[in-house]
Amino acid sequence: MTAPADAPVTTDAIPTMTVTLKILRFDPDGLDGREPGTEYWEEFQIEAHATDRVLDALHMIKWEQDGTLAFRRSCAHGVCGSDAMRINARNRLACKTLLKDLNPAKPIMVEPIKGLPVEKDLIVDMEPFFASYREIMPFLMTSGPTPERERLQSPEDRERYDDTTKCILCAACTTSCPVFWTDGQYFGPQAIVGAHRFIFDSRDEGEWDRLEILNDKAGVWKCRTAFNCTEACPRGIEVTKAISEVKHALNTGEI
């Protein structure tokens, strides 16, 4: 078996190539005589097509060579946010990164995302990340009686926050942020994106509650405009722009 289960049938004729992956592993159980908690690099070689995804490559390793390799994945096409990891030292989704975009002649380095506690291999504890998201009250807040039909919103007002509705909570942004790595106190860019989505929604009335939270010392002022988040976002969200808009709202009181 050389092709992954879901390799494109149309590329059958295209020759495969040998690709090396170096994976930073973490063994929580201490199997095969390792100390529990051992971290080590391991090298794997696979036969793959240039159009295969890094996720396919990881599957080939897991399914044919080493079943103990652990990583999260689900949708396999960049919409569920399960498989953010550091590939060649940059945060990406394994399922949205094709081998041909990576120079497969050199070993491909795969590591867990940085700044969250590693649980096993490429799996990290997402709880602190989701806790920050919950902190910014990511739900519509309104007052007054609920209307009978929909709340009206013009297409322009809808457009205002469109970008930040795309977020799939993959954590690629937050775990690429150098400020987040340093102390882990920072809410991180995702939480600001999540807040932005409601702050700039014309229907929402909780904007000042959220802005006040982001005004905190773990909030938006910690951002040093390093832009790693914007570069890392697999949904192409202009994260730094969203953060800037929140800063602007706090400074001017205008939304």
Partner: protein, 124 residues
Amino acid sequence: MSPLPTLYRGAEGMWMWVVHRTTGVAIFFFLLVHILDTALVRVSPEAYNDVIGHYKTPLYTFIEAGLVAAITLHALNGLRVIAVDRWTWALRHQKMLVWGVWIGFAIVMAGFLPRHLMHAFGGA
């Protein structure tokens, strides 16, 4: 193989942040020393001249040059950061602005260095 993780490969923005931070710290410590030595003018002219004399050695010449370089970089990038937070255009073109910072830096240093070195090592 060593279990050392790789260094995150951020783009221009991240490296300029590193530069900004390091230059900021460097300038801060220089400033501490600089104010202390200037305070010696209150002690006595001899004491001040004695210490300030060190600024005139080649080693200090380079430190002075480095200081000017650090301030220039920090200042220009500071302007970039301000611009990026202020205007969407600057935000979207922040990488271009990084190159702007380096070009500005090159120009300032090209103006400053020859004069400074000439002062230090005689000549003009």
